[in-house]
Symmetry: C2
Subunit: 334 residues, 2 copies
């Protein structure tokens, strides 16, 4: 798997679109200790603003192009910053669909300066097809009603909470941001489809009986483009526990307004039913409710209603953390 040198300088791009630096934001949020600073205007993630030269002098080893755009290509307006970072002697890491080395200017500059280009979506080792064989260790998988509802944040909040309680636990990253946070992982949506389940078997492999892998989910069984990835991930993860992630108030599928978001109940039932193929005793452990658009005064009321509906914890990982879920897990084990 990948080996990316740290610490990072996070690139934010040059636009005011707060959604674009999704990967940089995730790293800053969950691993600020790995970040020397940030570069780009007018946005900020609350890190020190630094030029690549300043960051390199301060010890930064890798410039993270932590941006997403529709085409997944290196935008021309990002090029000067990437070249500045290369000139400063930093490696460059990206989670874009397009490889950094497919850009002639970037490849030639990197060769000249002797720095490495890391393409998180492409630098994948050998994979194998799934076996479905039951394996030791325990696994929690975050699943969702849609894309971009908070599966990675939920996974990381659970990892943080269980670590604080001295559980043996690892976050298992399946997307580019998660991989840059974890320092390793497999981008399941970027691999050959025959290997989806096998890749997740490999990523969250057998482990001690009291060890928990927190597997980052992707997509949704109810997303018309990405459900195949979600199902392969579900089967490969062999989850003991599912945590269903949803964004409060979202009624239409992201970038697919023709599609309604299915009910939480349908999503839970279908995920449990499909999980049972490889994990017959799977259980739902909690609902994670992303309340970013909810009036703060109403968050607890909404979460309480969902909690009562499912007789399980319901939490927003950014507001409440995952303590309620960890309590449920402890009570269940005893």
């Amino acid at each position: 798997m990948l080996s990316i040198e740290r610490p990072y300088l996070l690139f934010l791009g040059n636009s005011a679109d707060a959604l674009a630096p999704k990967t940089s934001r995730g790293i800053a949020e969950w691993r600020p200790d790995l970040c020397v600073g940030e570069y780009g205007d007018p946005l900020t993630l609350g890190l020190p603003k630094m030029s690549p030269a300043q960051a390199a002098a301060a010890g930064a080893k890798t410039f993270v192009v932590g941006l997403a755009n529709a085409g997944g290509k290196v935008a021309p307006e990002w090029l000067p910053a990437i070249l500045e970072a290369i000139d400063a002697g930093m490696d460059v890491a990206s989670g874009l669909h397009q490889k950094l080395s497919d850009n002639d200017t970037i490849r030639e500059a990197a060769n000249r300066r002797g720095v490495s280009l890391h393409d998180v979506r492409h630098d994948i080792g050998e994979l194998w097809v799934g076996t479905g064989a039951r394996r030791s260790g325990k696994r929690i998988l975050t699943v969702g009603t849609d894309c971009s509802v908070g599966k990675m944040y939920t996974s990381l909040a659970i990892e943080r909470e269980l670590k604080s309680r001295n559980y043996k636990v690892d976050f298992r990253a399946t997307g580019q941001t998660g991989i840059l946070i974890a320092g390793e992982g497999i981008p399941v949506d970027a691999i050959v489809s025959d290997f989806i389940s096998g890749a997740v078997e490999q990523l969250a492999c057998e482990n001690d009986d009291d060890h928990w892998d927190i597997v980052e989910g992707q997509g949704s069984l109810f997303h018309p483009a990405f459900a195949g990835v979600s199902l392969g991930l579900l089967h490969g993860a062999q989850p003991d526990v599912l945590v269903m992630c949803h964004e409060a108030g979202r009624t239409r599928i992201k970038d697919n307004a023709d599609y309604a978001v299915s009910s939480l109940r349908d999503c839970v039932d279908t995920n449990l039913a499909m999980s049972r193929l490889t994990s017959p005793d799977v259980a739902l452990g909690a609902i994670s409710l992303n309340c970013r658009t909810v009036d703060p005064d109403k968050v607890d009321t909404i979460c309480r209603a969902v909690s009562e509906e499912f007789c399980l914890p319901c939490f927003d990982p950014m507001i409440h953390g995952a303590a309620a879920f960890a309590d449920w897990l402890e009570n269940r084990s005893t």
Copy 2:
């Protein structure tokens, strides 16, 4: 997409394993008119035995390495035949995981002789992610209780029957054998997983209202390794009609004896339920029952029982053809 010159010389390998030349067998069965002959011993597909030199003299343009093995690699014992074909001036086509051009000896021989190497699993054009947008034209998708139960044969039998009734119909290939039969297609298990649904939207794209695409299914929603591919295919196909394929008497999943084959009823219900996301009015049209291991005297009794259970046609495509299903389709439309 691919463009492979015909006619073919089919390679059967050098072993007595009748299952190995799976792709060659499919081409010989469904498109004998495209085959000048066969090469290899001791197996036969009933075509004239010819050396590559003889076949080239008789007009063969492409040598088809229509063999499957566990690793998906060019077996050393196949190399002399492949080199013979190249020497005779034929292109070479393969559906193996390993690219022909990754074998130095083959690549250098092909370059020297000026012939083309076609890797059906690799020569994939640009793909896009699915949109889920409803599109015109009608589509039939074959789905299965497992891998290798007869989805391609069922699709081709339906194509043949509907063509004979003057339907506007196309077979849409999603696997290597199907692609060599159709001359075009997309190997959905060999593409990046993000694009599964989108690739099938592209393969079986919008068409005349009275045109039928017969989409070749892959895997099974109940296969622990490949269900993700099957679900992406299901969503991308937007099928109007599903045909459920099963091998009579098979009780364990292929190459996965830990897994039981689910009941036909469960497979039908789950496929219909999951299909409805992108095709709300989907219906089951028939059960295709592969009776290769059934006592010939009992085939009709078994098919009748399944037919009565589902109140739909049940046929073995190799024994009965797909006339019963075509009758059902005609009655339904009127």
